[in-house]
Each structure stands twice: as structure tokens, then as C-alpha cells.
Subunit: 319 residues, 4 copies
């Protein structure tokens, strides 16, 4: 019986548990012993290993967070530390690790490959900022959580006829801001990928007020601008009262949506298929609705492109 | 200024309002007068027309149902009746109608085309049973509603260690049953596209009980079998108490998910683009994540294929 | 260290876990060993006992169902069987049992008292049908679940301008039907406590249609009439199409609401206070917002009175 | 036919619409013309009046916010301005105004009384900070919204084993913080009514970490301390990373819960009963579960007392 391992790393994302469940159960079915490593790469160093049986992953498909815990682990960049991890894996006779996480996690996987450990990546990050894949575990849930929050804010925005600036996650990626703007009917979306044109933003808000709209909503990705900063500029320009809301950590939690549970299950299951075919050094990606694999190096060198035509659509549909 | 019209027809689906909003606002921006026709083809016959302004579709993007109402209209199969509808359109100087609905609605659109009226179809049905398109408005919301219901049922199933049979919508299509099974971790999924193998179903439930699982969940599409029928067979075979739940109409309602609002907005907007290019006699479809168009005749003659590999995955992951 | 036990019995109700958590933690703090008995009275007979530590009840306050499982147990009516249970308790040196459940469960508690075991009851049932207490664990959650379902049904009812009959739980009690009707703005509520006046029901539905209301909703408690039966009568009388929905088991599950978590915590905590004061043979009740105790016999002989003035209010406000 | 008016004022609260609906429909039934005044006292000055028919309040019972809008209106403290409002009321032959809002709104009502206008107050504020009434419209919904947010945060807190500080609304009242702490199983609750004992807070968090709890949650009312301030103190004392989340405006919005819809309906209906009995100069209150009335002056001079025994319970149950 071959031994393999699975870990979750980086920011937690809803659906990670569904992926772990798929890895463990499909792995088990195919005759593998599947070890769960706690706290991501930190657990790899510390030897935080536990063999997972099929019952250990029961009743988790619908739970947010990750039963394997996650952690940042800056020291894993050092070769000595990596060697410690490899030693731990060898002691458990594990030659393959499935890494569930974002690009930082994939960099860790590449480091393991350099020491002869086989790795497969499963894209999981609420930011949807991994190149080549149109899907990452957690994005759909996070998007729906944001919408729910904005639907609530809309009630109070309408009742007081106010302009609201809502700050959503996304340090380098505007995906959450962009699609939540389209889906909520927001007036403006500010994303880090596009230099903001504040005079135009202000003009749009002004126009909305003139048109007699009951409220205006501006959604900013944290990487583009803070809600406070944006609020200040609009207040100064238009002399109106503006409210801000920073959605924060609620965007990471909650039950995964259908889409996140389905893709996470499919990705976890496919990762085992790849091991059976002796494929490694790759991340799974979703390309035009199909699950494919892509060399880690290409993924890490790639450039995630935001569909900026959506910005135009947001503008046109919020008149 | 050119006049166009939009109607919703068939079963209502969450996201229809987002599509109507996009049609009206994008249409308006491109210089069209957009008429809303109430109650689908029935309103077309009755002359139930109303010009929609951009403000009329404010604050509806997040609402379930359809502000244009929907209705069945058997009499629209008769040519005389169709002529009445065409007369009403001509009186309002409308030469193009955007039809939001399922295949029955597209058949109505084709009838209009036979009288010289240009039509464009937007696929909207919770069943996701329209050929060539991987996406239909409402499916994602319905799927998530089913999951929420099953998550609740799971609480009580676990507390009483029971087997539950949950009946979901889908007369001819098992898409809702299939994907809700994968996403909820159900033990078995029965769909109309695949002849059921009751001995295997019973064996699976028996095995789950033996494995000490706290509950078993069997999801049946109404087109495959009724929950009662399935319950009877399992009860007789295993001599256990089984509970049933028919989810019914809750599956049609509720706020649309992010995905449904985004695609509905994009589809509505694209329909206007097609009119600008003088395209018609087509339904919009989503193919590999991209919005394309397909001749109505092909869509209506096509065959929707269910991805039955998912059935295998459901079985493998619910051990 | 004194040993006590806790069990959940009868239909599961959201909030039971919050009560168990409070019993275990407050009990622990006061120096008791708290045993959890699985599967209610069945587990009492079978000796299904487990000492619960404070960590065992971590992360359960927000979960539906009951971690102690529940079961029916007809045989507990027999004295011989009761003696078996008492023997098991004595073997664990347990002289007090906290029983979380409905009136059937309280009857079981009384049986234990007849054998010298001290018992305290915590009212938990989604039906809110226990005399003298205005509150039972689970009712508030169930009510909100029903409302969420009706809000969904309302979307489709409005879109098709239909009359809907919604059947909710309540074999002998109309509390869920009554308050969900008031809260959802339903036109009519049928409860087992009041003989139904079908001509008046039909008249009300007819009037709603005449008034041009987009939909009518009739809520029936299962104990009053089935949705099908009601539908048949309305259809025959008014010659209109009517839709039915039987909400079923979704009404038992889901995360408990704030109110259910708060009261469950307070009731569990207070049960320990009573043990410290050597009080027993009582159920906790909520009377005018205050937690009090009431002799089991009085509770079981009492009569739960439905506030029928609410029926008048439902009628007046749904014009 | 007698004319009366209704307005909403102050911060919006979920359930206000259910109260407006009850006032309009019960008022109508009793033979009153009911005018809706938009934007609270501002609309009273501006003459922003509109007669509301029973259909105007259809389909609003389940909507957050207020269809009558709300606004602050500092100038209403001036007698000249008040006289303007009275003139507008007299022009519409309105001698009674139902004021839905918090204590600021009741002060406005008192001002109207000083000019001979009869007023009745309905308590509505998410803060639950009005003396003598145990219930205010919106509190229950807001509490549940906070719980939902904390349940999400808990996922990520558990996954990263972090301490979280969550800041909730409540400038002068700790009710939301207190009850959300009990209901979420938070470790500590800081409220403005009780001087905070930071060494004890820090000790509790430290103890939680030592006990191996997967996360600690501290809930602070904005009036007690900011999340940032609290975070800084804990970080300095324990040298741990702490995360903060300011829930903000999402706490005001969303569909009202069952409880808020029920009480809002009952309060609105009772306000009309009082007018029929020629009662005025009073606010409706809920006392031991019963709706009663209380002179405005007493309400405004009263002192809202927080049940601090709940703080002890929070501490005992979060071990």
C-alpha cells in the first residue's frame, strides 16, 4: 500500500474540506494510505501527521474552514527546513503530497519537488487569483457571502438614501470586487488591476444621485484603495455623507456553495487519478469548464488576467 | 428609435429579473425602447405590454421570481392565436422579442419567427435541461436551495440515525439530483436518464448502515421515481424505517446566487448585442464558459447529455 | 464528586446542543461529573453512557440536531424496562437525570422519579406544545425555517399569480402554523385547536383573487388538515389551480437561532442550579419571560392554550 | 373618516415595514385614512405625505429597511420648525401620528404633543436600548445577523487557531454584544454598561489558548471599546496575533426574523387599537411578554438596565 499525504495551506477557503474528503475517500478506494498533515507546511516540518480513514472525513463536506488547519510558514523558504520536512515524509514512507492552496502553497510544493517529493496542487483561494485556472476553491462561496452582505447594506442604504463604499478582499486581484459589483448592481467597482479614475467614479456617483436613485454602492478591492480613502474623496468632491463598510473576515467562512463542493470533490478525486498515472509537478486547473493539469512553473510564472469588459458592463447596467 | 420586447415564460427561475434588468438597461443605452410583456405568451396575445424605463428595473437584480410574471399558454400552438400576438407586436411597432425561458418557450419563439418576428432566446430553467448550453438561469440557485434543505435534513437524519429519501425537481432531467447528490455527499442518486438498479441502491444503503454511518441520504429526481416509491422498496428490502421529503416548490424561489445574477446579466446584455448585429432565430448558450449563439432548431432537436461519470464519483466518495 | 446525567429524547430540535453544552460546562464548574446518555431512554436501558468533558461540547452551540442522538422508546412504559435503566444509573452512581425533550420525555422522567431517580425537564420541541411554558427549545428556529421556505414559495406564487397551500408540522398544536401565518402575511391559517370553517377559508381566497392580490397563501398545520385535502376543497369550490407544498423534515434541522441558543443556554445552566438546590420532579418553564419550575405532574395534566386572537389579526392584516 | 399618519425615524431596523403594513391595514379596516410620511420628521416639515392604501403595503412584511425612508432631523428641535410640521398635518386634517423609532424619535413625538398633535410610539431600534420594554423591533434580526457573521468568522478562526475581536453595534447599549456573546459561545463580552477589566479579559484569552481551544472570540460593543484598541491590548499582553472584524452596517439590514415580523405586526395593530380608545402621549412597550403602554415622559426618563448576570453565564459556559 502506497502512502500519500494531503495538506491545506495559506488562507482558508470554503470547500477545502470537500477536497480533503475526496482525496481521502478516492485515495482509500484506490488502495492508498492517506495521511493528513496539520497546519500546512508548518505541520510538515513538525511531523504533524495523522492517517485519515474514510470515517474521519464524514460529515465535513458542508463545513467551512479546513479540518487540517492552515498556517503561514515563512521558514519553509529555507532549504534546511525543507529537508526536515522531507525527512518526516520519508519516515512515513510518503512520496507524494497533495497541496491544497494558492500560489504561495504551490511554491512550497515546488520546493518539495526539488527534493524528490512528488506534488500535485489543488487551487484553493477565495481571491481566484491563480493564473490559467478560471476556478479556485472558495471563490464562489466568498462571492455569495459578499452579495448577502451587500443585500443587507442595500436595505439600509435605500432607507437612508445613502452612498455606501464597501471594501472587499483582494490584495492583488480584483475578481471578488469585479463580480460582486456586477452581481449586486453596484454603480462602480475599483480593482487593483486597473488604475482608478476617481473623477469618473465621482461623476458616476453624482449622476446616480441626480437620477434619483435610492442609493449608490461603490465596491473597492482592498488592493485598489481602502474604503476610507475612497469615502474621503467622494465626500470632499460631492459634499455628501458617505458610509463605509469593510467586510473583512466574514468573506472567508461559511458553508461552501454547491459549486465549491462540486469542484472541490472533482479536483480532489482527479488528484488521485493523476497519482495513479504517475503525474506530478503540476497544479490542477479548470480551463473552459474542464479539469486539466498545468506545470507548477508555468502556473507560477503566469499572469492572471481580469476580464475588464465586465467593468464596462457594470457601468452600463447600473444606470 | 427601434422598439423591442422581452418576456419570461414557463416555470419561473431565480435570475430572470437580472436578465430583464440587463435587457432593459443595455437596450436603453443602445437606443431601443424596451417593452415588457406580462405573463409570457399569454400577455403577447392579450396585448399586455408596458414600456419599461431604466428605473422600472431598479432594485430587482437580487429578487427571485419574475417581475413580468410567467404563465403557461397552450393555445399559442395555434396559428390563429399566434397571428393575434403578431398583430399586437406590430401595433407597438415591435419587430424583435427576447424570450427568457426553457425549450417550451423557445418553441413559442420559433412560432413567432415563422410570422416574421425576430426572436432571441435566453435559457432560463432550474432544471438545466436545454441542449448545447452548460448553463441555464436558475439552476445554480436551485441547487444551492436543495443543499440548504439537505443540510437541515441531515441534522435530523444524524440525530435519529435514519435513512432519508429526498425528492427533487427534474421530470426529464436529473441534473439537480445528480449535482445535489455530489455536493451533499448523498449515498445514491436516481436520475431519469439512467435506468435505476434498485438492488444496487438497496445494497449501498445496507452497506452504509453496516459501516456505522450516522445517516444515509438517497436523492431521487421526480422523473426517476417518487420518494414514496423508493422508500417503500428500501423499507421492504431492509426492514428499516425510512423517512421521505419532497422538496417541492421551494426549489424555484429565493434570491438568485452570484452565478445566476452574473450570467443572467451577461446573457441579457449579449442579447442586445445580437440585435445590434441583426442576429436572430437563435438561443444564447454557454459553451465552455463562453456565451455563444445557436440556431433555435438545433437547440430544440438537440439532446441534453448528463455527465454520468458523476454517478460513479458520488458512489466512490460516499463510502 | 456527584454524578449526573443528561439525555435528549423525542423529536430532535435545534438548540438541544446548546442546552447539552450548558449542562456539561455549568455542571463541571459546579463540581459534577456529567454523563451523556445516547439515544434517549433507549440508551438509558442499554447503558449507553459516556462521561462528557468540557471539550466534548466545544463547537456545538451552533449546530442543529443533538450530539446525544434521540430515539423513540415505547418499551420504556414497562416497569421492568424502567428498572433496567435505574440499575444502569446506579451502576454509574448517578442519582439525577436532566431530560431534554417534550411531554413524552417528561413522562419518561416521571417514571424514573417513581424509582427514586431525581429528574429535571428542559422543554425542547419545535411544536411549542408544552403547557405552562411560553417557550420550548427549537420553536423559534423552526418558525424561521418555515418563513424562509414561504418567502421562496412566495416568489413563485407571485410570478404565476397562484394560490399556495403550505403544510407545516403540528399534529396537536397549531403554534407553528399560527405564527408563521402572521409572520409571512398568509391569508388563512388552519390549526387543530379550532374547527375549520372551510366556507370562510374559500371566501377569503376568493376575495384575495378579486382584490387583485398577486398570490394567496394558506398555511395548514398537519393536525388540522392535509395540504392535499385543503387544496381539493378550494379547487372544487373556486375552480382555480392551487399548488401545495408539504415542508416536512426541513422544519427540524438547521442552525439554531439566537433565541434558541440563548434560552437553551439559560435553561441548561438553570437545571444545574436546581440540582444544587436539591430541586427535582420539575420541568423548567418560561413564564412571562422568566425561567421558573413546575411540577411534572402539573405540566403533563396542563392544557396548552393557543392565542386565537392571532387568527383574527392574521385575517385583518392580510386584506 | 379620520385621518392619521405614520412615520419611521432614526436608524432603520428590520421589521419596520411589518409595522407600517399593520398600521395601514388595521387602520384601514377601522375606517381611518392612513398617510405615510417619508423621511421621518424631515418629511413632516417638508410635507412629504402620501395616502397609503392596503395594496401599497403588500409584499413588504418580509423586507428589511423601511419603505417610508428614514432620516436624521436635527432642526426638529426648534419650535418654529415643529410648527411648520403641525401646519402640514393640519392641512391634511391629521390629528394623530404613529412614530416608529427609538428614543430620539419619541422625543420628536413629545414635541408634536406639545403642539396638540396626538402621538403613539412604537419602539424600533436594533440596539434594544429603550427603557421599560424588553423588546424593540429589529433587535432579534440584528442579533441573528451577528451570529451568522460570527459563525463564518469561527470557521476561519478555527482553521488558523486564532483569537478574533468582533466589534458590534451599540454606542450606549451592550445588548447586542451581550446576547451575541452568549449565543455564539464567545469567551468574553465587553459592554459599555460595565467598566471593562482588561487584565481579566486577557487572562481569559490566555486560559483559552492554554486549554487548547481552537479559537477565542471576544465581542466588543462599539460603545465599550473599538476592536482595534482591544486587539492592541491583547496583542501587547500575550504577544499573539489577533484578528479584528468590525461588522458595521450589515447589522441593520436583511429580512426580519419571525419574531420581528410578529411583534411588529402586533405593535402596529395595537397602535390602532389605542387610537380607537383615544389613548396617546404613550409608547407601546413589551413587558413580560405583554404589550402595554407607557407615558413618553417616563420612557424618556427611564433607565435601561442590562442583565449583567448574563456576563457571568458567558464566562461560565465558555470554559
Amino acid at each position: 500500500m502506497k502512502n500519500i499525504a494531503v495538506l491545506t495551506s495559506g488562507g482558508d477557503a470554503p470547500g477545502m474540506n470537500a477536497a480533503i474528503r475526496a482525496v481521502v475517500r478516492k485515495g482509500n478506494k484506490e488502495g492508498f494510505n492517506v495521511y493528513g498533515i496539520s497546519h500546512g507546511f508548518l505541520g510538515l516540518i513538525r511531523g504533524d501527521f495523522k492517517k485519515l480513514e474514510v470515517r474521519d472525513v464524514g460529515d465535513i463536506i458542508h463545513r467551512g474552514g479546513t479540518i487540517l488547519y492552515s498556517a503561514r510558514c515563512e521558514e519553509f523558504k529555507e532549504v534546511d527546513v525543507q529537508k526536515e520536512a522531507v525527512k518526516n515524509l520519508e519516515e512515513h514512507d510518503i512520496d507524494t503530497v497533495i497541496v491544497i492552496g494558492g500560489d504561495g502553497s504551490f511554491r512550497g510544493a515546488l520546493a518539495l519537488e526539488s527534493h524528490g517529493i512528488k506534488t500535485i496542487g489543488i487551487p484553493a483561494t477565495i481571491d481566484n487569483d491563480i493564473p490559467f485556472t478560471e476556478y479556485t476553491i472558495g471563490f464562489d462561496t466568498s462571492l455569495n457571502t459578499i452579495l448577502e452582505a451587500i443585500d443587507r447594506i442595500r436595505d439600509t442604504a435605500t432607507s437612508h438614501e445613502r452612498t455606501f463604499i464597501v471594501e472587499v478582499m483582494g490584495r492583488e486581484s480584483g475578481a471578488l470586487a469585479l463580480y460582486s459589483s456586477l452581481a449586486s448592481g453596484a454603480e462602480v467597482s475599483l480593482v487593483p488591476e486597473v488604475a482608478e479614475d476617481m473623477p469618473k467614479v465621482i461623476e458616476k456617483v453624482e449622476e446616480s444621485i441626480k437620477l434619483g436613485k435610492k442609493h449608490s454602492i461603490v465596491i473597492v478591492a482592498e488592493g485598489a484603495m481602502s474604503a476610507d480613502e475612497c469615502s474621503k474623496m467622494i465626500t470632499e468632491a460631492l459634499n455628501i455623507e458617505v458610509r463605509t463598510s469593510v467586510l473583512g473576515h466574514i468573506q472567508r467562512g461559511g458553508k461552501p456553495t454547491a459549486r465549491d463542493r462540486i469542484y472541490a470533490s472533482r479536483l480532489g478525486s482527479t488528484a488521485i487519478d493523476l497519482i495513479l498515472e504517475d503525474k506530478h509537478h503540476v497544479a490542477l486547473i479548470v480551463n473552459k469548464g474542464k479539469i486539466e493539469m498545468k506545470d507548477f512553473k508555468k502556473v507560477l510564472q503566469g499572469n492572471k488576467i481580469l476580464d475588464t469588459s465586465i467593468l464596462k458592463m457594470i457601468d452600463e447596467l447600473s444606470i
